[in-house]
Symmetry: D2
Subunit: 343 residues, 4 copies
């Protein structure tokens, strides 16, 4: 059994990690920390866990994380980087779901997050945890930086096209939409049902922190320099991300459906839909799957790719468990065989 | 492996049975019928099942149901009763999720459903499939009539009180509320998001078909004749039933919390919350659990019990699988260990 | 033109008052206060008001409320009572939408609100602003205490029955349900879309502050002492309250439909639906109307009344404007002719 | 008083026309037709209209439309074109909210709608009813073809840019999202709350009927030939359209904020938000306003315009009333001063 620790388990990524790990046949949750909820039973905060665990939250200062085989960080940015260096030093493997180690270029990180990075050296050695791109590196990684939710949905949609040089990387557009859980379990007015319900809006149009992460990921797929216009939107629902991607085709004769199917043929969690069928977020609610469709409207020269994931699963906790499975030699799908809840 | 057939799998109860049975370690789905969708792959109708099954719907006339060990009926009323007698004759065990065999009194059935019952003799032998009340009978039953969704939520809430004679059975009140999936996957205007969304209403106030079923169930718990006023409501959400039950106490000195905890101590799917905590439907979304709270407001003489279930799970497909587990000597929780999806 | 001031206009009751008053032909908004948003334009906080007003919030200490003809308080409890006495002294008429002056019995108020009342003498002279009950007193009132949202929906439903002595007042039950705006525009986790969405729950079962207010109102309608069991619920929608009321009939031969129609025949904002039709909250969304239905299920001895209002209109701002109209001799419907938005 | 007739008033556009016209000071509704609901009172079908009208639906064959001053068609396509020619012949002015007369090129219409057009000659004389573009023509028009909902939101966003030649018209992208009322009040499974709720999806990616309408409208704004990639999405809400528009700038030095503000300075229903503020659909719910923001992310060469409208108001019934006001010499805002309902 893999001994697991979780730092910061009171948010939505945390409870989702718990949902997956408490039923994972090869993992045993040893400790989960929270400063604010120390001493409180998990199932008191999250009644959906009643009967599944007797654990309580531990104060970070009392948590013996170094005796874990793997520690997940489900924290806001700027928390993991305080503790990860010593854990890595101690030989513990780390899966960081926060943004701390996603950008290799530390100065870019510091510009977008507005503060200095306290362990810049690890930014170079951390492995970006997108299995469909970096599987081998994840297997041997000591520190995995899990991709953000939007970045996962955008990269999986552009990847086959960029890898094959079929689109012009200088004019990429991503119009993405997320459920409200993307903003976390935070007491803020814009997240109220009365504010976010029955409404739709764009936000972060002039610049969202996921932009540099996506551009870094896309740049790994091509020798050119991708330029992306990225506009996220807020959808009045809890879970799910939908990305609608637009790119200009260099070659309009390629069979894009076949290209995507071939690229993802062996991927357990990427599902290319039959031509003419379009994904909806609910089809992957609670599951670790990314569903994708490809269309060239009117047979013109612009390709439209639409992708859906559950932002808390393939966009966060599920992808983190997928990374853990790879790191510990387990079947990649272990603990991730949940069927999406519909309706 | 238990060979399973499903009749009528294109509704929400059907897809929920599929979600549970496709991952059930001891069950193998052999055939699923649909008149309207015969020949269509399951995962074409329900994209959340992609990668889980290659089955297609079979036309009822082509389906070899008699070679199954158990057949589930997930049909509107008046369908199961046409086929169940011959299946029973052939020795197949049947779990009927419809209303056809829930009422022992055939004339009451005929009055509420407005048509003659075609196999009244089976109404006497069918076992009402509420495990918390009829576990032993279910184990040996050949035909189980699964309780309705509202009836499950109301009976589990009143049961400990009626069994102990603590409340006046002549003045019971149930104010229940259901998500829109309770109306099924039917093309009707009142179920549109634009009609049912952002609104709340009572319906069936003058008489809902679940009333005689509930009163029959309650009458089994006491030698008196229970009289219930039952008002269902429609909630703008997909899944979940919440019942708020009111009854007049005969004895205000009983420790009701202890009574409920004792009554349900060994029940794997009934969870009595700590005093002062109230259930919400989302805590059981996708799970087979019923969560219950008990309160005596202001210390007066009226007890308020609130219960929640997922109408498609403990209120339908989950309870049906629970019955199957009992009928075939499996652990009662087999295939039902799904943790509720929150948020 | 009536010169209007509003204290505390940054919540949902505040923006709703603004929606109604900015288009009221006989009212002119002179000042609106907010400590936190002083100096900010109203339409910056509430973009739905763009083009309708150039006003900005004023700091309470800078606001000349005494020059207003009427001041509305749209504040949390314990705010109005600090300022109302001096305004009343100065001859300003006051419409208080908060709970400060709703209870005549000051010790009951102090018990439920957990703090001393600073102007208990006004609790006796304040007029409870339910026009359908207290129209004449409102007309001449200097201080009107607007009813709470739940209390409005419950009192209007029980009133004809209690006034005529048709039901047993010792066993009243109200199962009410409110949209999330009832909790106000406050940064709290339980109000998040991710918490309150796709879920339904009871709350305040053991005691809600609206209980003593309702019982006081009901006791004015009968010489007996009404006892109410009141359970509020949270619905995943923004606006609307639905109350389902249960009472035991003393006389089962009364034509209740006719009784209600007669009682409310001249009420511009109470609409008794035809027998057999049930109200839904969306039919009054944005309107000042209360719709009501009456049923005696199965012809037994329990009557079920269902009522709907928009909690922010007839349950708050609309009823407040209705009071103002009465106080200043305007047509009672002035500025309140908005048709509900459907869908 | 303008004598008004409505053909086909049982859908969401119909009830919205009723909401606006029943309170319009200069319009008097004389007749409203429906084949299916003939004889039924309007307020029986739409309880939000109770107390506002005593009218009932008239069978089309009994309706004296020719005595009306103006007739609105709120019908599916292929209905208006059967009756409009004779009404026009009779001198009645017509505002058609359907798609029948939106395209001047009849063969394009026939290709997209898959049937012959029965009055092609009127396609040339019909005036496209976008007041911000065609005000003068609308004033004198006998037949106005009201723009579709998506087309309104897209054209108002691109118009200032195309008119000034600032963007490359050959690479336009519109990623739009609509609430479920856009699909009409039709009994179809995909519109159920259980299907469309808690989910987000693209649809019509390979070709939506609004594409040729938008491209026709855009081509009127420039001497070049605009090419648009248009992807609509379904949002789990009732009302509202949000369009996110992308275009490549030819000149990155233009002050786009100033350009938009100048272009719409005199438009009563187009509201350019201050720089840095982004519109949300709820801010215009129930109102006839289009709110717009303009951004150039990262100061690169792609402009992002976001627009919101209420699809049933500025996208349908409100814009139709706006056209009527213009046609009959009324103030353009008559009857359209409703403030958006928030929350």
């Amino acid at each position: 059994m893999i001994k697991v620790g979780i730092v910061g388990g009171t948010g939505y990524t945390g409870v989702e990690l718990l949902r997956l790990l408490l039923r994972h046949a090869s993992a045993e949750l040893k400790v989960i920390t929270s400063r604010g909820e120390a001493g409180r039973r998990l199932d008191d905060l999250f009644p959906n866990l009643r009967g599944r665990t007797d654990l309580a939250f531990t104060d970070p200062s009392d948590a013996d994380l170094e005796s874990c085989d793997v520690v997940f960080f489900a924290t806001p940015h700027n928390v993991a980087m305080q503790s990860v260096p010593s854990l890595v030093q101690a030989g513990v493997r780390v899966v960081d779901l926060s943004a701390d180690y996603r950008l290799r270029n530390v100065s870019v990180w510091e510009a977008w997050y507005g503060e200095p990075h306290s362990s810049p050296e690890l930014c170079q050695t951390a492995v970006y945890g997108l299995p469909e791109r970096n599987r081998d590196a994840i297997i041997s990684a000591q520190l995995v930086a899990c991709p953000g939710c939007y970045p996962t949905s955008v990269q999986l949609g552009f990847m086959p096209l960029l890898e094959q040089g079929i689109i012009d990387p200088s004019q990429l557009i991503a119009s993405s939409a997320s459920g409200a859980s993307g903003a976390g379990r935070q007491a803020k007015i814009p997240g109220l049902l009365t504010e976010a319900g029955e409404s739709f809006k764009a936000y972060g149009v002039s610049g969202h922190r996921h932009l540099p992460e996506i551009e870094q990921g896309l740049s790994d797929m091509t020798i050119e320099s991708p330029i992306l216009t990225f506009v996220p939107h807020l959808v009045p629902m809890s879970r799910g991300i939908h990305s609608t991607l637009f790119a200009k085709l260099r070659d309009v004769d390629v069979d894009l459906q076949a290209l995507f199917e071939a690229r993802y043929a062996n991927e357990p969690f990427v599902d290319v839909l039959p031509a003419g069928q379009f994904p909806e977020t609910r089809s992957v609610r609670g599951a670790n799957t990314c569903q994708i469709s490809i269309t060239v409207p009117q047979g013109r020269d612009t390709v439209v790719v639409t992708t859906v994931i559950d932002n808390l699963v393939k966009g966060a906790a599920g992808q983190a468990v997928q990374a853990m499975n790879l790191m510990f030699g387990l079947p990649e799908t272990a603990g991730l065989d949940v069927i999406a809840l519909m309706p």
